[in-house]
Symmetry: C2
Subunit: 372 residues, 2 copies
């Protein structure tokens, strides 16, 4: 399924954003679309690293509080100001005595002391930030100093979320949850519905132009009202219905209106699981981000066994125990989000595994710490 | 200084947000202003946990593929639908044979099998989420299912950032960096400037109404142009100028226009440090968040010694080494953001410590993983 998603959802073209407008884009978790290279040395010339008096260090030899040394040409500098010609050190104000304009050094300075050398921070041509790097506030500060005015960052795919109504609580209540998940992964949400379980109405919503990805929730099962896969076939192509994933096995993949489409189950826990393991990957791919799960991964010891059917990827909701292990709070067979709310994270048992015994090391994927 | 900030910056009143409008608020990293209690059982009645046929389990005793058992009153149910009266289990479709409306069970069901019991997810009155909890997508899904329409969440303080211009690169380039930092900590930014180093102009910008917190960058040093502390005294109160923090020792604290005010140095690294260790705490306090540093903390071994002056809190920019230790990339005395861009995080040496030797365990605060 990952292969299908990666083939169907290629990264969209990057967008150019002015550095002055970057703060809200950082809040979306933007990543660089390409490397950023220093256009010049930083700092561009030797400059004061602190407030004080710029001196030729050789003029201060032997100076001390009992041996003040006159500094006839002394120039006061603020941190960040260029070094005046003929100077190579900055004495701090505490090491200066100023008596009506007659300036004396009360201490000596070594060459380069209190000075930030040209290129000390970054030298011209250095790759400062790699493609895919998630921008941090200090990166923006350095880029502004280097007078880089525009950045190429990952695109913001337009994701249509269609809610195909069902029994309460089903898909009709999932709009805010799915919107938050798509925003976390870098997408801009268009929320449609809840719509009735009507094949033609769903097909029209699926095929409408203006989206880069379609995600639908509900009506993917085997009942009479489960018209979402049929509607997808009408709107484009139903490539696969039924996936080896628990919860979430009624999910479907295909295309609608020329873009990739993922149908998620309406049962809320199955919907969350199919989003995390399938749809989220498509959003992150389109957004030019790392397609892997965004949840921080930590190694942990299983407090109890977690069994899984061979051939089926199963997701266990788990919580940390007081002794630092993880234990399941709900079987993959149990529906409902209450277990995911109680959980600290989840453990994925891959298809080729029949599970892990108590005491085994597993990878805990933390719900907290996924950053937007 | 933390005590001063905590006293000066009390949490603002919480705000009510409709669940339908919560997705962008999640993107801001919103936290709950109070606990959320389940208003009723979830699910509110026994219901199907999977698609299939609702049965009385006693009717299926002994059924098997070689011993089909007739189910005359069988009712098809979709996952999430209430259990019909007189039924207590759901047989999956694979365990059913339907020949023109004549339904037979090909397997037996235990009582409760395939059923989600009333209150199994959450029972009425349970505290589901604590005050201060950072909302996650699945929380929103469960709250929607429980028909909780409105949440009380932490406020969004209005933070005015005044740039007091200086030598390039100084405060005039720090707007985007500071805006991103304030947004990360939950504030809404009003960016003013860059303004000239004019005492009256700065005082007017500091004292203007409409902000919950004032942050100014630049002109805090000891030079003639360093008028920010004087302007703060004019606009309200200069409580402290000069803090035992490196980099960042020219920072100042006070009040302006009736709200807390923090003056940060214009040197970019000193500005970043003073934001992280002082101003950010004020933003998080006002926003009702955990005031502690938001950077994930991990234990690590120092690859080299880090010395620090007693009485001064010093911040080392560090990177991880290939063997999993951390080493400084720049001394606290060195200016510039280039070191912070190369760094994976930072180590704070507290005022009462004279530093740590190589091999000591330190707390690495990671730049990545701070979530917005």
């Amino acid at each position: 399924m990952e292969g299908w998603i990666d083939a169907a959802a290629a990264p969209l073209p990057p967008r150019a954003v002015a550095l002055a407008d970057i703060a809200p884009v950082l809040a979306e978790g933007a990543v660089l679309a390409g490397p950023v290279t220093a256009p010049g040395d930083w700092p561009p010339a030797d400059r004061a690293a602190r407030d004080g008096v710029a001196v030729a260090s050789s003029d201060t030899l032997g100076a001390g509080s009992y041996n003040p040394v006159p500094l006839p040409g002394a120039v006061t500098v603020a941190a960040g100001e260029p070094m005046p010609p003929g100077t190579d050190a900055v004495l701090p104000v505490e090491a200066i005595q100023n008596d009506g304009g007659f300036v004396e050094a009360l201490g000596s300075a070594a060459p380069g002391e209190g000075v930030e050398r040209r290129g000390e921070g970054v030298s011209a041509g250095t790759v400062m930030l790699e493609a895919g790097h998630r921008l941090r506030p200090q990166d923006i500060g350095l880029l502004a100093a280097l007078e880089i005015a525009t950045l190429l960052i990952g695109p913001r795919p337009r994701v249509r979320i269609v809610l195909a109504g069902g029994p309460r609580s089903g898909p009709e209540t999932l709009g805010a949850m799915l919107s938050a998940l798509v925003a976390r992964d870098g997408g801009a949400v268009e929320l449609v519905g809840p719509l009735p379980a009507d094949r033609a109405a769903l097909a029209a919503a699926y095929a409408a132009p203006g989206a880069d990805l379609l995600i639908s929730a509900g009506r993917t099962g085997v009942g009479e009202d489960d018209v979402a896969p049929l509607a997808l076939a009408d709107a484009g192509e139903l490539a696969l219905h039924g996936v080896a994933l628990r919860p979430g096995d009624s999910a479907a993949l295909g295309r609608a209106g020329g873009v990739p489409a993922l149908l998620l189950p309406g049962e809320p826990m199955a919907c969350l699981t199919a989003y995390e393991l399938l749809a989220g990957r498509a959003v992150r791919r389109l957004a030019g981000r790392n397609p892997a799960l965004p949840h921080p991964a930590v190694e942990a010891v299983a407090a109890r066994k977690m069994v899984s059917e061979i051939g089926c990827t199963e997701l266990y909701r788990v919580r940390r125990t007081v002794d630092g292990m993880v234990e399941p709070v709900a079987s993959p067979h149990r529906p409902g989000l209450a277990g995911a709310v109680r959980a600290d994270g989840f453990v994925v048992i891959p298809a080729e595994s029949e599970g892990v015994p108590a005491g085994a090391t597993v990878t805990l994927r933390c719900f907290d710490g996924t950053s937007l």
